[in-house]
């Protein structure tokens, strides 16, 4: 085609972006219902103000580290369930699958003479998570049972497995230093700073590479100021987290696990074929099928990932509590992650959602949980208030969806 030989002049139909134009476009997006992370950030600020005014321990370094530790397991499970939600499906079994993960880890590591090496235990437990999810996925895709029913059955059955594994013991104390260390050991301050710097450097590298590639392909490039702004925003956010955490005990290893998983999973969703296909199946499964995508395999892989991450979350949760009992995986372990993903902006109808949404949503859920705990309210009040916040978040989503529909963005 002759267009290849065109001179590398900027395309006249795409005048060079200025910050003003960029900001105007962003505001148009917001008004037409493309809210992005805006409600979450606003929500976090409101939460901080409200709780700080009620109890001045909320915004302390010690409580911040507690918050990170409380958020970590639910954030991991929420990132997992996002894969199911992206398909427009749901996984109700994540709570007790995480319970199975925690209990299995604790039991296999109990020093009763036939305990396994830590490394082997991790392989077994993560393998069990993958197997559970694959099993769910096979029944959902190959037999055609709705995911709601399959994972509701899973919720009951894996609860039963937790009880069977615990048996008559009632409580199993975690006695492995490595596993306990995940949520109870902290990075040295210097190491935390180096890791934060590496993250920023990685981000800068990715951004610069994108600019270089796009310039070579003669495509329009984001204004430099916007790129700088993004880098600075990330650097400031990471610096605050590290500085505040170092003020107290330091950055917990659990936060490192969450961060690592976040980077890997985001990469998977945004930069690989698999991720693209997940969005396509969630957006229009028939279109995906006609495009030659193996829809069943994508579905199975998503449910497998969902259970795998639930199991990892279960290990972190067990590490934080230093023990597992018959209640492990019940209650919050199911509902908080789903609520977190939804609050973050992941659609229950499929096709819309990110790892960032899961992470920020989990932070909101657990900030509320943490703050209400500091106020010393009864669990009854806590649940009512948490429910109200979830409803509010979904209402914001519904209203913004109406905005999208009106501006033709469905």
């Amino acid at each position: 085609m002759s267009a290849v030989a065109a001179p590398p002049a900027p395309d006249p139909s795409h005048p060079k972006d200025t910050i003003g134009a960029y900001a105007r476009r962003w505001w148009t997006d917001v008004r037409s219902g493309e809210l992005g992370s805006l409600p979450i950030v606003v929500g976090l600020v409101i939460i901080a103000i409200v709780f700080q005014s009620q109890n001045d321990r909320f915004l302390t370094a010690g409580n911040f580290v507690n918050l990170l530790l409380q958020t970590a397991p639910y954030a991991v499970i929420a990132m997992g369930v996002t894969f199911a939600l992206l398909l427009g499906e749901i996984d109700l079994s994540i709570g007790f699958v995480s319970g199975v993960g925690g209990v299995l880890t604790a039991i296999l590591l109990t020093p009763d003479g036939n305990e396994l090496p830590t490394f082997v235990v991790f392989v077994v437990v993560l393998g069990a998570g993958l197997a559970i999810g694959t099993f769910h996925g096979l029944i959902i895709t190959k037999v055609g049972v709705p995911s709601f029913v399959v994972t509701l059955a899973g919720l009951l059955a894996w609860n039963g497995v937790v009880l069977l594994l615990i048996g008559s013991r009632g409580t199993v104390i975690l006695q492995n230093d490595f596993v306990i260390g995940i949520a109870n050991d902290f990075l040295a301050p210097g190491v935390a700073w180096i890791l934060a710097a590496l993250c920023v450097a990685l981000y800068v590298g990715v951004q610069l590479n994108a600019v270089r590639m796009r310039r070579r392909a003669n495509l329009e490039i984001d204004p430099t100021a916007i790129i700088v702004l993004r880098v600075v925003a990330l650097a400031v956010a990471l610096a605050i987290v590290v500085a505040v955490a170092n003020e107290d005990r330091g950055l917990p290893y659990a936060a490192l696990v969450v961060g690592g998983l976040f980077i890997v999973l985001s990469y998977m969703l945004n930069r690989t074929k698999f991720g693209r296909h997940v969005y396509a199946v969630g957006g229009n499964a028939e279109a995906a099928r006609r495009a030659g995508i193996n829809v069943d395999n994508v579905r199975i892989a998503c449910f497998a990932l969902c259970s795998l991450l639930a199991v990892i979350g279960g290990i972190i949760l067990a590490s934080r509590l230093r023990s597992v009992d018959t209640n492990t995986g019940g209650g919050q372990a199911l509902l908080y992650p789903i609520a977190a993903a939804v609050i973050g902006g992941t659609s229950l109808f499929g096709g819309r959602g990110t790892m960032k949404a899961a992470l920020l949503g989990a932070l909101v859920m657990l900030s509320i949980d943490n703050g209400l705990g500091l106020l010393g309210l009864s669990s009854g009040t806590k649940f009512v208030l948490t429910g109200a916040v979830l409803l509010l978040a979904v209402t914001v989503d519904s209203i913004s969806r109406r905005g999208r529909a009106q501006s033709g963005r469905a």
Binding site: M213, R271, T272, R276, A287, A288, A291
Partner: protein
């Protein structure tokens, strides 16, 4: 030159023939298809040449959809011969027809609303870079180039979500997606069915350009007005049979309507010459 069924109204001009009727790239000879007791297609002849816009018309239930689904490999033909580029071929599934270079743009378009234009155009055939990552820049550049080549100027940004596009823009994306893969035959199923006047014109212009670029286009439509704007040839199906074939420049809407509603069913292949 394959002798075609005689057309009421005299011989086509010799010039017209050589211009549009080069050797057909896709030819169906006496194909039939039945679903149980229902004879959906009976002894249908059909052909389309490179650079030709051949429209397929007929009332509801005439067999248009069955014919294109068989060409696309969704259903097998019961009998008859499919000849592609002079070679007899067997189409057993959608992959076979895609390999030959036959692309279908279905009425419901098969676009994912939550993905942008580039992502939709490359869906299922994403380009990867050396590290097995999605090569977004290469895909975006080529998608833009394809749209530009088809003179699709109504799409502001190829990074726009398809959800935000109008019907005509979506149709343009679906067509661009179909022609991007070195396809030789493009089948469009009712491309203007749900569109307004301006958008219909957009899409018809696009169809005409496909023909100009040397693609064979099969256009299915109920709207004779649209067909008379862009088609070179018109094949009329009635109750599963090919009842008439016209060159657009030598016929008029009335003749075509008569064929659609009352075309002689006895005009089965082999008898056409005798009858003329």
């Amino acid at each position: 030159m394959i002798p075609r069924g005689a057309r009421p109204g005299g011989e086509p001009a010799e010039e017209e023939r050589t211009q549009v009727m080069s050797d057909p790239i896709l030819e169906l000879r006496g194909v039939s298809k039945s679903f149980g007791a229902v004879q959906a297609l009976y002894q249908v002849d059909f052909h389309v040449a490179p650079g030709e816009v051949m429209s397929l018309v007929g009332d509801n239930g005439a067999g248009k959809s069955t014919l294109i689904k068989c060409i696309a490999g969704i259903h097998p033909f019961d009998e008859g011969e499919v000849v592609f580029e002079g070679q007899p071929v067997n189409i057993h599934g959608p992959k076979d027809s895609a390999r030959l270079g036959i692309e279908v743009v279905y009425q419901d378009l098969a676009l994912a609303d939550n993905l942008d234009v580039v992502q939709n155009m490359y869906l299922g055939r994403e380009e990867m870079d050396g590290l097995r990552r999605l090569d977004e820049t290469a895909m975006e550049a080529r998608a833009k180039e394809t749209l530009k080549g088809l003179s699709v100027t109504t799409i502001r940004s190829v990074r726009q979500l398809v959800a935000g596009l109008s019907g005509g823009q979506r149709q343009s994306v679906a067509v661009a997606k179909a022609v991007m893969w070195n396809s030789k035959v493009v089948i469009l199923d009712e491309p203007t069915a749900a569109l307004g006047v301006a958008q219909t014109k957009q899409v018809l212009d696009l169809v005409a350009r496909l023909g100009e670029q040397g693609l064979a286009v099969i256009l299915i439509s109920h709207n004779l007005h649209d067909i008379f704007q862009v088609a070179d040839g018109i094949t009329v199906l009635r109750l599963g049979q090919n009842v008439a074939e016209f060159r657009r420049k030598e016929t008029n809407q009335q003749e075509v309507v008569e064929a659609i509603t009352a075309g002689q069913l006895s005009k089965v292949p082999g008898q056409q010459e005798a009858m003329a």
